[in-house]
Symmetry: C2
Subunit: 426 residues, 2 copies
C-alpha cells in the first residue's frame, strides 16, 4: 500500500469560476467597455453579462464544500461558493489541504471552447476577449503561485488560422494545453473528419501543445428522455466521450499529424480496453469496404500512442491497467465540481493503488502529467520533498475544509430531471 503522505498529486482536470476582476486592465482601451461585466441580480445570484447575454453560474459546477443535499442547478451567488472556486490564494490553500500539487483548470462562463466569445460578430473584439482571458489565465490564475498550475488556453475557435496563432502565442507564454471541443460539429463548426482544423493541429504539433477535450464540450447534453432523472445524465456524461474517441480514431487527424496528443478530460479509463478491442474488431472486419487504412498498425496502437486519459475514481480501470497505455493515464480532482473527491483526494485515489507498483503510482499521480504538459514543479518549488501530500497538507494546517451549509432551503427543492440542466448559457 502506497504511503499517502509520500504521494505527489497533479490533477489534469479542475475548473476555475472566473473572478469579477478578470478583464481589468487586460483589454485594449477601445474594447474595455465591451468586456463581460460581473453583476449581482435581483435574486442575489451573480452572473456575467456580455453583449446582452446573461450567463449564470450553475451550482453543480461549484459545490465543493457544500453538503450534497444542497446540490442543485439554480444560479448561485459568489457568497454561496467556496472562495477557492474563484480566489487564487484560497484555491491554493484548498489544494494544499487536499494534498494536490498541480492543477490544470478549465474555464466556466466562456464555455469550454470560448463559444461565448466566438458568437461576437466583430471578430477583432472576439479575439481581444480570448487573448485577455488567456493572459489572465496564464499570468494571474496560473502565475500567482508559480509551480502550482498547468496553463490551458482558450481557443479562438471561429477561425483555424487565428486559433493556430493564439495557440502559438500562448505556448510561448508557457501554455502547453488548449481546451477544445469533443465534437466541434455539434457546435456548428466542421468536424474532425474535415481538413478545416489543420492549421490548429499543425500549431499544436509544432508547439507540443496537448489538445484537451473535456466531457460536455460538445454542448450536447445526454437527454435519454424528457422525464429522465438527472442521475442518467450524471452517469452518462463521462462515457459519452467514447464518441469523440471514435471520431478521432477514424478521422484523418491522428494519422495526418503524427506528433499531436489529445487528452480525453474527465472521460474515465475503465471503458477504454473494451473500446480498443472494438475498434480493432471493426477495423479487421470492415476495412475492406470502408477504406480505412492504418498501414501496418492497428487503430488501438494509434490510440495508445496519441490519446491521453484520466480518471477521478475508477478502480476497475486501474485494475485493468495492463490493457491500457499506463504512460498516458493521469489523475484528476475535478475541483470544485460535484464529482470531485476534494478534500479527501489522497485517501480516495490511494485506494486504487493496492498491489500497484510504485513506479506506476508515480506515473499516474504526477509523472505522466508532468511529462505530457511539460510541467516541472519540483524545480520551481525546491524539490519533490516540498510537493508531497504530506508536505502540502502540513503547510495548510488549520485551513477549514469542513462541509458548510449555505443554502438549507435548497434541500428537496431541486429540479431533478436531465432536461433541467439545459439552462441558458450552457
Amino acid at each position: 500500500m502506497v504511503d499517502i503522505n509520500d504521494m505527489v498529486l497533479v490533477s489534469v482536470d479542475d475548473h476555475v469560476v472566473e473572478p469579477p476582476h478578470l478583464f481589468e486592465g487586460r483589454l485594449p482601451a477601445k474594447y474595455a467597455d465591451l468586456a463581460p461585466r460581473f453583476v449581482t441580480r435581483d435574486d442575489g445570484s451573480n452572473a456575467w453579462i456580455y453583449e446582452g447575454q446573461e450567463i449564470a453560474n450553475v451550482a453543480l459546477n461549484a459545490v465543493a464544500g457544500r453538503p450534497p443535499e444542497e446540490y442543485g442547478m439554480e444560479p448561485t451567488s459568489f457568497a454561496e461558493l467556496r472562495a477557492g472556486c474563484y480566489d487564487i490564494d484560497e484555491r491554493v490553500k484548498d489544494m494544499d489541504a487536499n494534498g494536490v500539487l498541480g492543477s490544470l483548470c478549465f474555464p466556466s462562463f466562456p464555455q469550454f471552447c470560448g463559444q461565448l466569445f466566438a458568437r461576437t460578430e466583430d471578430k477583432d473584439v472576439a479575439l481581444a476577449m480570448v487573448r485577455a482571458y488567456n493572459d489572465w489565465h496564464i499570468d494571474d490564475w496560473c502565475g500567482t503561485h508559480p509551480g502550482r498550475f498547468i496553463p490551458c488556453s482558450l481557443p479562438a475557435i471561429w477561425d483555424p488560422q487565428v486559433l493556430a496563432d493564439e495557440v502559438r502565442r500562448t505556448a510561448r507564454k508557457g501554455a502547453y494545453a488548449v481546451t477544445f471541443s469533443e465534437n466541434p460539429s455539434k457546435l456548428g463548426w466542421p468536424s474532425f473528419h474535415s481538413d478545416h482544423w489543420d492549421p490548429f493541429w499543425q500549431a499544436c504539433s509544432d508547439e507540443g501543445v496537448v489538445v484537451c477535450l473535456h466531457i460536455g464540450s460538445s454542448s450536447q447534453l445526454i437527454i435519454t428522455a424528457p422525464d429522465a432523472p438527472i442521475d442518467c445524465l450524471i452517469t452518462l456524461t463521462p462515457i459519452n466521450i467514447v464518441q469523440a474517441a471514435a471520431d478521432l480514431i477514424w478521422s484523418p487527424v491522428l494519422r495526418k499529424f503524427p506528433d499531436i496528443k489529445i487528452a480525453l478530460s474527465e472521460g474515465g479509463i475503465g471503458w477504454i480496453p473494451y473500446f480498443l478491442e472494438r475498434v480493432d474488431y471493426s477495423y479487421g472486419r470492415h476495412r475492406a469496404w470502408t477504406g480505412q487504412d492504418f498501414g501496418g498498425r492497428l487503430p488501438s496502437e494509434v490510440f495508445n500512442e496519441r490519446i491521453l486519459t484520466c480518471f477521478i475514481d475508477d478502480r476497475f480501470g486501474m485494475a485493468s491497467r495492463e490493457f491500457l497505455n499506463i504512460d498516458h493515464v493521469m489523475w484528476e480532482c475535478d475541483y470544485p465540481h460535484s464529482d470531485s473527491t476534494w478534500p479527501f483526494a489522497p485517501e480516495t485515489v490511494a485506494e486504487h493503488f493496492t498491489g500497484v507498483p510504485d513506479d506506476v503510482v508515480d506515473k499516474v499521480t504526477h509523472r505522466n502529467a508532468m511529462e505530457q504538459f511539460r510541467y516541472d514543479p519540483f524545480t520551481v518549488l525546491g524539490g519533490k520533498e516540498n510537493c508531497t501530500v504530506g508536505a502540502l497538507r502540513a503547510s495548510a494546517a488549520g485551513h477549514d475544509v469542513s462541509i458548510r451549509s449555505v443554502k438549507p432551503e435548497n434541500v428537496g427543492a431541486h429540479a431533478n430531471r436531465a432536461v433541467d440542466l439545459a439552462v441558458p448559457g450552457r
Copy 2:
C-alpha cells in the same frame, strides 16, 4: 483450453430475413389483402410493400458468406443473400456447420419493435399483423426444427394492454422472450421512467418473459458528424446501449417489478464493470439531492441481478468476468449480420476461454441462455451429446460455407458515411 468440439453453443442474438410466404394463411380472411407484399423492383432488388411504404433489405444486415469487399448499404435481392438468411432449413444447416445448437432471432423488415405495424391507423389490423408475424415466428421459423430456436415475440407496442395480452398469448405458445426498444421515448412512446408500460412489465414478470433490448432499437443512429465515416457508427452502436442501461437503472422499472429480467442484446460486456462502478459512484455522491433510493442495496447489485448481457467477441470482457455476474453473461453469433463470426464461431469464442474454468464456459456458451429463456434442447434432441459443436458439424458435413462473391461490382462502390445508413425504413 476448452475442446472446441465439446462446446455447446446457444446464440441469444441472430436475425431472420423474413421469407416471402410469411403471411400466407396466417391472417383473418378480411385482412388477407392488407398483408405486406414481397416484390421484386425494377433494379432487381427485393422489398416488402405495406400500406404504401416500401421497405428494402439492407445488405449489411445479411452479408453472411460474402466477401467483406462487397459489404455495403444498397438494397439487395434475395438472390444475392445466402439462403440461410431466410430459409429455415438452410438456416439450420448453416447453424450446424457453425456448430451452433440454438438461436434467438430478431426481426428485420417490421423493425425491432414492430414499428411498421404500429404505424397502421386501424389498430385491429395492426394487431392482426403482429399476431400473424408471431404465429409464423413461433410455429414456422422456430417450430420447424424443434429444439433449435428460442422464440422471441414482436411487441404490439402501440398499446400497453394489448402488448401485455400478446406477451401472455405468445408465452403460452412458448415464447419466453420479447423484443422491445432500448429507448421507446426516441420512437415517440413514453419512456421507461413513466408508468405507461406497467401492464407490459407486469405481463413479462408474470409469464417469465425476458425483455430483449437490441442495439439500434431506438432507431437513433449515432451520427457524430455529417461527414463521419461509417466506421464511427459501427464502432459506437453496441456501446450506445449504455444509455438504455442507465435509463433502466435509474427508472422505476427494476425496483417496481422485482422479477423482471432485461437483456441488452448485442451490447457487449467489456464496458459493464466501468458502468457499474460509475452508477454506484453517482448514487453515493448524488442521491442526497436527486432522491434516488435503492433501499439498502447498490444500483450495481440490482443491475447484476436483473440485466442479462451478451457478446460476440469481447476478450477483455471475459478477462474481466470477476467484475460481472457471470450467471447473466451469454454468447451470440449475430448471423447473418456483418459482425457475425459465422462460420468460425466455435474457434472465435474458444479463444476467449483460455484459463476459464469449464463450468464458466458452459454457463456462457449455453447454460445461462437455457435457464433464462427456459430453453431445453437436450431433452428435445435426445441428449447433450447430439448438441455439441462436434456433433452438429458432423451432421453438416459437405455443407458449403465458402465465401462467395455475388456482387463484384460493389467493390469500392459503397456509401461510406454514417449518415448514408439513414435509409428509409430503418
